[in-house]
Symmetry: C2
Subunit: 376 residues, 2 copies
C-alpha cells in the first residue's frame, strides 16, 4: 500500500508521532536515574487516569501478562469467582483456573452479568472476584462499581481488568473498590503494544499469595519500584517505557476529562450511524450494562459477508475488527481508542456505508449524515 | 550530558541507528501478513545463530521471561538439576524451584561447575538439566557441550540459557543436545530489550508439562506461530519485533563467523589489557571453563573503590558494569556485545587506565598498549 492503513480496531491503535519517535533513543542503563525518572513520570501521570492513589507497577508484557500477574500474585490458591460475558472475561477466568478454585459465571457474550450468582458465590466464601470492565469482544461496558461494592461487602479482593477503558473512559479504581486494576499500553493510552500497568491496594498486599510466578510477581516489582531510582526486577522493555511516558504526557496535555469526553463523542457518533443504518448493537444494554465508549459493535444483517465488507474497507485504507471466536463472521467492531477523532470517525463511517452499498446490501438510512449531525 | 553515554555493559548495549529507527513505524495489526513476515524473518535469521533447526518462538518479555517459559513449559512437576556458578544460574535455579523438585548444584561464582555431582543427580533420576552458557555475573563461559552430552546420556531434557552468548559466541544448540535454548534481545543481537527467543526440540515437545503458565506457555506460542501468517497467542510488542528483525538482518549482513570472530577479538583485547595491568580475571579458567568472549571481568585490587573508578569513567562518557550481589564493589566488567568494535574497546581500556591513575592506584603495566598491540 502506498500509505499506512488507518487502524480503527479495539487496539492496537495509531500512535502520535512523538510517541513513536521516543523509541529511537539510544540504549540506556535501566538501573539509572534516567530510567527511574521515566518510570516515575509514567506512574505519576497514570494514577489519576486509573482513579487511584495506590501503588502502580509497569510490567514488560501485554495486557494478558498484567492479568496473570494480578491472578498469580493475589489469587493463587484462593477461591475465585470470574464474571464472563466475552472473550477477555473468559481469558481472565481461564488464567484464574490455573491458579485457584474458580467458578466461572458465564453469560452470553454481550449480555448482562449474573450478579445474583456472584452474590451466591461470595456468600459461599469466594475470596477473589475478577471482572473485565470494558469487554471489547462484545463491545460492552460492565458495571465495575456495582461488582466492586459486592466484593467489598463480602470482603473479597476485586481484580479489575480495565485494559481497554483506562485513558478513554471513566475509571475510578479506588472509589469502586478495585484492589488490582490493569491497563494495556496499546489501547486508549495510544502507546505501543508490550506494556501493562497494574495498580495494587494495601488490602491486596496484605493478602499476597505464596509461590507466585517469577517474571510476573508483583511483589518483586514493588520492591524494585520502591527503590530510588525506581527500577524493575528484570530488564524492562526500555523503548516502550519511553514511548508510554510520552503518551502519558499527551494525555495530561489534553486533559483527562477532555479525552474521555472525546471518546464518548466518537463512540456516540458511531452508534448514531448504526442506528440510522438499522443495525443491531452487539451488547444488550440495561441499567447496569452499557455500550462501550471505546469500541462499538454491530451484528451483520443476514446475508452480509464479513470478509467482503471489511476487505473492501481495508482496500480503501481503513481496517476495523470483525468478531472473535463465537462472534467470528457475525459482527464487526469499530474502535475509537486513543487519538481517534472526528476525521477518522467520519471517514470510517463513510467507508462502511460505501462498502455495504458496494456489497449490494441496502442499509435502512444514512448513517454518515447521522454521524455528522451527532458530531456537529 | 551533552551526548549519549557509551554503554560497555553486558547488556543493554548500543543499537545501530537502523534498528532504533525501525521502531518508529505506525502501529500495524499483529494478526496480519505484515507482522507474520516480520516474525518469520526473525526466526529464519536466528536459527543459524542458535545452531538449530528446531522450532523457534519469540516472546514479548525479557530473558527471564524466556527462562520461565522454558521451565514452566517443560520442567514443571519434574526432577530438575540446576548448575550454578553465578547470578543467572541461580535465577534459573530459583525459577526451577517454583516449578519442580530442584537440586541446585552451587559452585563459587566464577568457579568450575560440579559435573560429578551432576552425573550423580542424573543417575538418581533427574529429568531436566539447566545451565547458563555465558554467565555474565562472573564473566565465565560454561561447558554447554559437555553438560549436553551428560544430559543426553541419561535421557534428561537440557535447558540452555544462552541469553548472552548467542550472536556473539559459538552456540550449537542442536549439536550440543540443547532441547530448549534461550536468547535475549538486548545482548549480542544488539536489539532493544524486551524480547526473548526460544528454540524447542521435538524431544522437548514430546515431554511437555501440564498446567503450564498462561502468558509464557510455549505450546500456545507454537500453535500461533504454526499458523499462516505466523502469529503470537497474545498481543506482541510489535516495535521490538521490527527492531529485532533489522538487528538480525545486520547479523546476516556481517556474517555470523565474522561477528563471532569480532567478539573474540574485542574480549581478547580487554583480557590483554587486564594482564598488562596485573589484574586478576574473575573466572577460574580450566580445560572446560573459559573466560567469556562477550564480557570480561576483573577483580579490583585491594583498596580500589568501585564507585570511584566507574564514576570517573562515566563522567568521561563510558559506562561499564560493577559486580552484582556478592560481587558488588569487588569486580568490574567490560562488555563487548553486539556492535562494539575497536574504537569503543580502545576508548574504554584507555578510560579505565586513566581512571585508575586518577584514583591514585598504580597499575602494573600499560594495558592500553597491550590492547592496541593485540588488535593490530
Amino acid at each position: 500500500m502506498y500509505k499506512e492503513t488507518l487502524l480503527m480496531m479495539p487496539g492496537p491503535v495509531p500512535m502520535p508521532e512523538t510517541v513513536r519517535n521516543a523509541m529511537t533513543k539510544q540504549a540506556i542503563n535501566h538501573r539509572s536515574k534516567e530510567f527511574g525518572d521515566c518510570y516515575a513520570d509514567i506512574v505519576r501521570t497514570l494514577k489519576p487516569v486509573f482513579g487511584t492513589e495506590n501503588d502502580m507497577l509497569v510490567l514488560s508484557g501485554s495486557g494478558t501478562a498484567g492479568q496473570e500477574a494480578a491472578i498469580g500474585s493475589f489469587a493463587k490458591g484462593k477461591k475465585i469467582v470470574s464474571l464472563v460475558n466475552g472473550k477477555f472475561g473468559e481469558r481472565l477466568g481461564l488464567i484464574s483456573k490455573l491458579y485457584g478454585e474458580t467458578a466461572m459465571l458465564e453469560s452470553e457474550w454481550g449480555h448482562a452479568l449474573d450478579l445474583e450468582a456472584l452474590k451466591q458465590e461470595l456468600e459461599n466464601g469466594a475470596e477473589v472476584v475478577t471482572l473485565v470492565h470494558n469487554e471489547t469482544s462484545a463491545a460492552i461496558l460492565n458495571p465495575a462499581e456495582e461488582v466492586g461494592k459486592l466484593a467489598r461487602k463480602y470482603d473479597a479482593l476485586f481484580i479489575l481488568d480495565a485494559i481497554t477503558s483506562i485513558g478513554g473512559d471513566t475509571v475510578k479504581a479506588d472509589a469502586w473498590g478495585a484492589d488490582v486494576t490493569i491497563v494495556g499500553s496499546q489501547k486508549c493510552l495510544a502507546a505501543p503494544a508490550g506494556l501493562a500497568a497494574v495498580s495494587v491496594s494495601q488490602r491486596a498486599w496484605d493478602r499476597l499469595s505464596e509461590n507466585r510466578p517469577f517474571y510476573l510477581d508483583l511483589k518483586k516489582a514493588k520492591k524494585s519500584a520502591d527503590g530510588s531510582p525506581m527500577e524493575t526486577p528484570t530488564t524492562p522493555a526500555v523503548p516502550l517505557f519511553l514511548a508510554l511516558r510520552e503518551a502519558c504526557r499527551l494525555i495530561e496535555e489534553e486533559g483527562l476529562e477532555n479525552r474521555i469526553a472525546r471518546h464518548h463523542r466518537m463512540s456516540g457518533a458511531v452508534r448514531a450511524a448504526g442506528e440510522a443504518w438499522g443495525l443491531s448493537l452487539v451488547p444488550q444494554v440495561d441499567t447496569l450494562h452499557k455500550a462501550s465508549n471505546t469500541v462499538t459493535g454491530f451484528f451483520y444483517p443476514e446475508g452480509v459477508e464479513d470478509a467482503k465488507i471489511r476487505g473492501a474497507c481495508k482496500k480503501m485504507g481503513i481496517e476495523f475488527a470483525g468478531g472473535q471466536d463465537r462472534f467470528k463472521g457475525k459482527i464487526f467492531r469499530i474502535g475509537n481508542m486513543g487519538i481517534i477523532d472526528t476525521p477518522e470517525i467520519i471517514a470510517t463511517v463513510a467507508a462502511v456505508q460505501m462498502c455495504f452499498k458496494k456489497a449490494g446490501y441496502k442499509l435502512e438510512g444514512d448513517g454518515l449524515s447521522a454521524a455528522v449531525d451527532f458530531l456537529s
